[in-house]
C-alpha cells in the first residue's frame, strides 16, 4: 500500500509539472469549417501569419466545425473570429450584433459527385437545379451533410430551386457529419452528394466509386467570409488580434498564400478574392 501511494504521489507530481502551464500567449480562437482545416490550408496560412504579424505571442487556435456550429460557437462568445461560408447565416450573425464587419476572403465552388455509372444522368444536366431534379427523379441515394454546415445550407437551397421536397426522397441519407465523412459514405454507397470542390479534390484519390458529375453553375459559387466577434457584445474577445489576422488573410500577403496553396496534384483549391 505504501508503495502504491508513493507511486500515485509521484505520478501526481510528474503530471502537475508536465501539464502545459498557461503560457503568456494570447489565444485567438478561430471558428472555421472542416473544409478549410482538412485540406491543409491552415497548415500553410498560420505559419505565414506568424511570420507576417508584428504582434508578439499571438496564437491562432482553429476549431474546425461546420459553418452552422462555428457561428453558434461565436454567438456564445466562445470564438474570436469566424472564417465560414454561408452568407445567409453570416448576415444574420451581423444583424444580431454579434459581429462587427464581414469581409470576403476567398471562393471556390460546389460540385455534384456521384457514381461513374451515373444512373440519374446528372452529367447531362444543363443547370445545377436540373442535376438535383434528375437525382431525385432517378430514386438514387443522396447523402446529405445534415449538420447545418455551409454545404448543407447550399444543398437545401438547391433542392428548393429544383422544386424538390427532400423529405419525400426515399433514398435521402442525412448523415450529420463532416464533408470528409459524408464523401466516404457516398463512396461506399455509390450515392450522390454535393461537396465543396476543395474537400472533394483533396480526397479524390481514395474515393474509388465517385466522380465529378456536375459543375460550373453560378448557383454553386462558394464564397468564404471572415467576421470578427463584436467586443461590445463579449468584452473578453481578442478583437485587436482577430483584426490583425483578418488584415493578413484579406491583405496581399495572406491572399498570395491562399492563391498559391495547392493540393498534392497541383490543383488550386481556393481562389483569393478579398476586396482592397
Amino acid at each position: 500500500m505504501k508503495k502504491a501511494s508513493l507511486f500515485v504521489a509521484t505520478l501526481l507530481l510528474l503530471l502537475s509539472v508536465a501539464l502545459p502551464a498557461a503560457h503568456a500567449v494570447t489565444r485567438v480562437i478561430l471558428a472555421s469549417t472542416t473544409s478549410t482545416q482538412n485540406t491543409g490550408l491552415f497548415d500553410v496560412l498560420l505559419p505565414a501569419y506568424y511570420n507576417w504579424t508584428t504582434l508578439k505571442d499571438v496564437r491562432i487556435d482553429v476549431v474546425a466545425v461546420g459553418t452552422g456550429k462555428a457561428i453558434e460557437t461565436a454567438k456564445r462568445g466562445d470564438a474570436d473570429l469566424l472564417l465560414v461560408h454561408d452568407r445567409e447565416k453570416e448576415d444574420a450573425f451581423l444583424a444580431g450584433g454579434y459581429g462587427l464587419e464581414r469581409r470576403d476572403v476567398m471562393y471556390n465552388d460546389f460540385v455534384v459527385v456521384g457514381p461513374p455509372s451515373d444512373p440519374a444522368k446528372a452529367r447531362k444536366a444543363k443547370s445545377a437545379s436540373e442535376a438535383f431534379r434528375l437525382v431525385a427523379a432517378s430514386g438514387a441515394a443522396f447523402v446529405s451533410r445534415g449538420d447545418e454546415s455551409g454545404t448543407h445550407a447550399r444543398e437545401k437551397m438547391m433542392w428548393k430551386t429544383a422544386g424538390v421536397d427532400m423529405n419525400t426522397l426515399k433514398n435521402y441519407l442525412s448523415v450529420g457529419q463532416s464533408m470528409e465523412a459524408a464523401l466516404r459514405i457516398t463512396d461506399e454507397k455509390a450515392a450522390y452528394t454535393l461537396s465543396d470542390r476543395a474537400t472533394y479534390r483533396s480526397m479524390k484519390d481514395s474515393l474509388k466509386n465517385l466522380t465529378l458529375l456536375y459543375e460550373g453553375d453560378p448557383a454553386l459559387f462558394n464564397q468564404y467570409g471572415t467576421i470578427p466577434v463584436n467586443p461590445a457584445k463579449f468584452p473578453h474577445v481578442h478583437y485587436k488580434e482577430a483584426m490583425d489576422f483578418i488584415e493578413f488573410i484579406t491583405g496581399p500577403a495572406g491572399q498570395k498564400v491562399i492563391g498559391d496553396f495547392k493540393d498534392n496534384h497541383g490543383n488550386t483549391l481556393f481562389i483569393p478574392n478579398a476586396k482592397r
Binding site: M1, K3, N38
Partner: protein, 232 residues
C-alpha cells in the same frame, strides 16, 4: 485487410521515427487522462469507501446515482461541461473552454463514478471479520476502517484501471470541450476520429495501435504494483 497491415507498419514507422507531432499527441493524451484519473481517484476512492463504511442519510441514493453515472455517455458529459464552461455559461469567466484543462475536467467527471462505485463494491465486500479482528486487537475505528480499505486494495486498483481505460478510450467529451486544436488539444482519440473522417486510415490505425500499446503498458505497471502488494 491491406489497410490494417499497412497501418501496423506505419504505426511502427511513426513510433521509430520519433515524429514530433505524434509524440506531442501521445504525451497530451497521457497527461490529460492521467491527471483526470488521479483527480477521479483522489475523490472517488474516499467517496466509495465512505459509502461502504458509514451509514448516512441519502447513502442509498448516492450509491444508485454513482452506479447510474458509471454509464454516463461521454458525449453527454462533454455537452454538459461545454455548456458550463462556455463564455455564455456559469463558469465562462474562467476561459477554460478549448483548453487541456477543460478536457481534464470532462474526463475526471466521466471517471469519478466508475472509480467510486467500483471502490464501494470492493470495500463493501470485505469480510466483516477483518473489522472484528482489528477491533479485538485494539485498533481505533479509524485504523479498523483503514484495514478494511487496504484489504480491498487490489480491487481498488482495478477500479482506477477501469477509470483510466474509460478516459483514454473516450472521444466524444474531449472533442466537444477541447475542440481538437492542432498542437494544443488534439489527443489520440480525436486524431483517430479526424483521420478516419479524412480517409487517412493508415494513420488512424497507427494511432489506434499506439493507444493500445499505451493501455497495455499502463496496465502492466499497475499489475506489477498489485503483484508486489502481495496477498496479506
Amino acid at each position: 485487410m491491406d489497410t490494417i497491415i499497412q497501418g501496423l507498419l506505419k504505426a511502427l514507422g511513426l513510433l521509430l521515427s520519433f515524429d514530433r507531432e505524434l509524440y506531442s499527441i501521445i504525451l497530451l493524451s497521457v497527461e490529460v487522462s492521467g491527471v483526470a484519473v488521479v483527480l477521479a481517484a483522489a475523490l472517488g476512492i474516499p467517496l466509495g469507501a465512505l459509502c461502504a463504511l458509514k451509514r448516512f442519510p441519502g447513502r442509498g441514493v448516492l450509491i444508485t446515482l454513482l452506479n447510474t453515472f458509471m454509464g454516463l455517455p461521454p458525449v453527454v458529459a462533454g455537452l454538459v461541461i461545454y455548456l458550463f464552461l462556455s463564455r455564455s455559461g456559469p463558469l465562462g469567466f474562467m476561459g477554460l473552454l478549448y483548453t487541456p484543462s477543460a478536457m481534464v475536467i470532462a474526463q475526471a467527471v466521466i471517471a469519478l463514478p466508475i472509480v467510486a462505485a467500483l471502490t464501494w463494491s470492493a470495500v463493501a465486500s470485505v469480510d466483516p471479520a477483518v473489522r472484528e479482528t482489528a477491533v479485538t486487537l485494539g485498533a481505533t475505528p479509524v485504523l479498523a476502517n483503514w484495514r478494511i480499505v487496504s484489504e480491498a486494495r487490489l480491487q481498488v486498483i482495478s477500479a482506477v484501471i477501469a477509470g483510466f481505460g474509460r478516459t483514454t478510450a473516450e472521444v466524444g467529451a474531449v472533442l466537444i470541450v477541447g475542440g481538437n486544436i492542432a498542437g494544443y488539444t488534439r489527443v489520440m482519440t480525436t486524431s483517430i476520429a479526424m483521420e478516419t473522417g479524412k480517409g487517412s486510415f493508415e494513420l488512424a490505425i497507427a494511432l489506434g495501435v499506439v493507444l493500445m500499446l499505451l493501455a497495455f503498458a499502463f496496465n502492466l505497471i499497475l499489475r506489477l504494483l498489485q503483484g508486489k502488494g502481495g496477498r496479506p
